[in-house]
C-alpha cells in the first residue's frame, strides 16, 4: 500500500496519511526540504532525521548538469551519494529549464536549453527526465511538464496542458525500477476549466500520486487556492496530492484544508541564509538592532539547536559577521519550525481542530511571499 489515509478533518478536505516506500514512510501532510544539488544547504541530509523529516526533494535539472546522473548512478545512486536513507522525491527538471536555463527551445519532443552553469546544450525529453530519475534512484518520480510563468495567455496555458499530458504519456513509457513511484503533474494555470481538464487527462493515465504544477509562479495567493480547488475534485481520493513549490506556512495550512498532502519550497532554507527566521511569534529579521544585546533564545519554545544553545544576540552577531554558522543555525531553526507546523497540522486534523490552528496569528498571510522560488 503506497498511500493510505489515516484521519480526516471533519470540517475541511484535510486528511492525514501515511506514504510508504522502500526508503521508509512519510506522515502527511508533510513538507519536504529542498536539496537542490544533492545537499539541503548547510546541512548533512542525515541530520534531517533529527529535525523530523523523512522525505527530501532533489532537482533532476541540477544533478543532470553537475555531477551528472550517470556519475551518481556509478556511485550507487543519490541516496548513497548524499548519505540519506530516507525518501527522495526528484522533480523532473522542467521547472528549472523554464525558469533558469538559457536559450530555451520547446518542441513536441522536449526542451532544448543551455546550462546556466557553462552554456552546455542539453535536450531534455520526457524519456530522458525519467531515465535521470531512474539513475538517481528516486523514490518519487515526477514527469517532465510544461510549466509556463504567470501571467501567460490562455492559449499558452492550453498548450501547456496538452503538452504536459503528451509528455506524461511518453515518460510513462520509460520503465522505472522496482520501488520507484510515479506522480503525475496537473497544469492549467489559474483557469478553473483548464485545471479540471488537465486533472482529468493526467489521472486517466494512472499515476500513484498527483502534483499540481504551475502554482506559486507569480499569481496572487487567492488564485493559487482557486486553482487547487478546481483540480482536487478530479484527483482520486486514495492518492497523495502535492502542490509543488509552495511553502509559506499559512498558505500550506490553507491548502491542507483543500486536501493537499505534500509541499516543497526553498523558503525556510533560503530565508534562513538571508536572516529571516520563523517563530511562534511571527517572523524575525535577525539583523535588527533590537537584538544586539538580546540574551533570549530566538523562540523559547523551540527545541532546535540554535534556540537551545544560543542567544538572539549571538545569532545576530553571526549573521552580521557573515559567518557560515549563521546559515547553519538559521537553517536548523527554520526547518525545525516547518517540521513543527506540519506535525501540528497532522495533530490538528486528527483531533478535528485544524480550523483553530489555521486561525492563529502566527499564520497570518504575507502576500508578497507566495511566489514559488528557484531551486535552493
Amino acid at each position: 500500500m503506497f498511500f493510505q489515509v489515516t484521519a480526516r478533518d471533519p470540517k475541511s478536505l484535510a486528511r492525514c496519511g501515511l506514504l510508504q516506500t522502500c526508503h521508509g514512510g512519510v506522515l502527511t501532510p508533510a513538507f519536504m526540504p529542498v536539496g537542490t544539488q544533492g545537499s539541503v544547504k548547510a546541512l548533512e541530509a542525515r541530520e534531517l532525521h533529527a529535525l523530523g523529516y523523512t522525505l527530501l526533494l532533489a532537482n533532476a535539472y541540477h544533478l543532470l548538469l553537475r555531477p551528472g546522473h550517470r556519475t551518481i548512478a556509478t556511485l550507487g545512486g543519490l541516496h548513497r551519494f548524499m548519505g540519506w536513507d530516507g525518501v527522495i522525491l526528484t522533480d523532473s527538471g522542467g521547472f528549472q529549464v523554464f525558469s533558469l536555463a538559457g536559450l530555451r527551445k520547446i518542441h513536441e519532443e522536449g526542451v532544448e536549453f543551455a546550462s546556466h552553469l557553462d552554456g552546455t546544450r542539453f535536450h531534455l525529453t520526457p524519456q530522458l527526465s525519467a531515465e535521470i530519475q531512474r539513475d538517481l534512484g528516486s523514490d518519487l518520480v515526477m514527469p517532465l511538464d510544461d510549466c509556463p510563468p504567470y501571467p501567460a495567455d490562455r492559449k499558452r496555458i492550453e498548450e501547456a496542458v496538452r503538452r504536459t499530458t503528451a509528455w506524461a504519456r511518453l515518460g510513462l513509457a520509460t520503465p522505472m525500477r522496482a520501488g520507484q513511484h510515479r506522480l503525475g503533474i496537473v497544469q492549467g494555470g489559474v483557469h478553473r476549466d483548464l485545471r479540471a481538464r488537465s486533472a482529468g487527462e493526467i489521472t486517466a493515465l494512472g499515476f500513484e500520486g498527483y502534483a499540481l504544477g504551475g502554482i506559486g509562479v507569480g499569481e496572487p495567493p487567492e488564485l493559487a487556492g482557486e486553482s487547487v480547488r478546481a483540480a482536487v475534485p478530479y484527483l482520486p481520493p486514495a492518492a497523495p496530492r502535492y502542490v509543488m513549490g509552495i511553502g509559506v506556512p499559512g498558505q500550506m495550512l490553507e491548502l491542507i484544508a483543500e486536501g493537499i498532502d505534500l509541499f516543497d519550497c526553498v523558503l525556510p532554507t533560503r530565508n534562513a541564509r538571508n536572516g529571516t527566521l520563523f517563530t511562534s511569534q511571527g517572523k524575525i529579521q535577525i539583523k535588527r538592532h533590537e537584538f544586539r544585546e538580546d540574551p533570549r533564545p530566538l523562540d523559547p519554545g523551540c527545541p532546535c539547536v540554535a534556540c537551545r544553545n544560543y542567544s538572539r544576540a549571538y545569532l545576530r552577531h553571526l549573521y552580521m559577521s557573515g559567518e557560515i554558522l549563521a546559515s547553519r543555525l538559521n537553517t536548523l531553526h527554520n526547518l525545525t519550525y516547518f517540521a513543527s507546523v506540519m506535525r501540528r497540522a497532522r495533530e490538528a486534523i486528527a483531533s478535528g481542530t485544524l480550523d483553530r490552528l489555521r486561525s492563529l496569528g502566527e499564520f497570518s498571510p504575507c502576500p508578497r511571499e507566495t511566489s514559488r522560488m528557484e531551486a535552493d
Copy 2:
C-alpha cells in the same frame, strides 16, 4: 597548578603537559582552532569537544570591532556567548592591528588604527587590550605586543622588543579576574640575540606562560626554527610555551621537538574552505578531476564525519557546487586530522618515538606554507 610537565622526550626538548584552568584542562602539545569572530568557521564551538579539542583561540581585535567586548560582557562573557565551556585563549589584537587595520599610528601608549570593517577609529592600548580580554572572560590572556612584519631592519625589531616589554608591563598593571592566566609574548624577529634579550625581559616580568610572536610572518621556516631555538633556553621550563600563528603539521612537530607546547593557526579551517584536505597520505585538492567518481572515503583511517559517511566524489561535488556543506565537512575533517597529529605527538613523546613520527613522509615540509595567516 596551572601547568605541569607529565612526560619528556629523551631525544629532544619535547614534553607532554597538562594545562589546567577553571574551564577544564588541555593536554599539550596542543593545537587550538581559531574562532576569530566568536565562531570556528562552519562549526559550533561545542562541536569541537567531539573532535578532541578543549581549547580554542578567539581574536580580541575582531570582537572589539564587532559586536564589542562590552556587549559580550553584558551577555555573560565569551564562553556563554559562543556556547563553549572549554578553555579560551584570546590574542591581544596586536597582530591584527599590524596586519589588517588601516591608518595605523603606533606610539608609546599604544596603536591608533581604523577598523577594517567601517573605518571607525580606535586607540588600542596595553590596558585596553587587557580590559577587552577581561570583559570577554578569556582563560588565557595575551598582552599587546609590537609585531613587525618580515623583513624589517634590525632597528625596527629592537624597537619592537623594547616596546613589547614596556607594553607587557602596562598590561600587567591592569587587574584580571580570578582564574584568568596571563602569557607573555617574546619578540625579536630572526635575530638570535634580540630573541634572547626579549625572552629575558619578558620572563623577568613574570607571566604564567610564554608565547613567541613574530614567527611565521614571512620568514623562511628554518629561520623560524632558529628564532624559537634562540628564545626557548631563556623561558622557564615549568611554564607552557606557545608559538603563535604556526600550523603546518610538519613544522609544528619540529617546534614540539624544540620544546613548544601550544600552537594556533587558521590553516586547517581556511584550507578546508579552499578544498585542501590533510590526509595520512599527504594533502589532497578535492577539486581534482580524478576524484569525480571516486567512491572511497577521503582518508579511510579517519574517524571524522566526512570520512565515515561520504565519498571523495561527493566531497568534490559539494566543493565544485559551492555548497556550504563542503566548508563544513572539510573543516570537520581537517580539524580531526590536526587533533590526531597532536594526539600522536603526545603519544610519541610519552613512548620516546617522536623522532620516528617526525620522519614520516606525511609531515614532509611544504615551504610555501609556513607563513602566519590572517585571522580566520
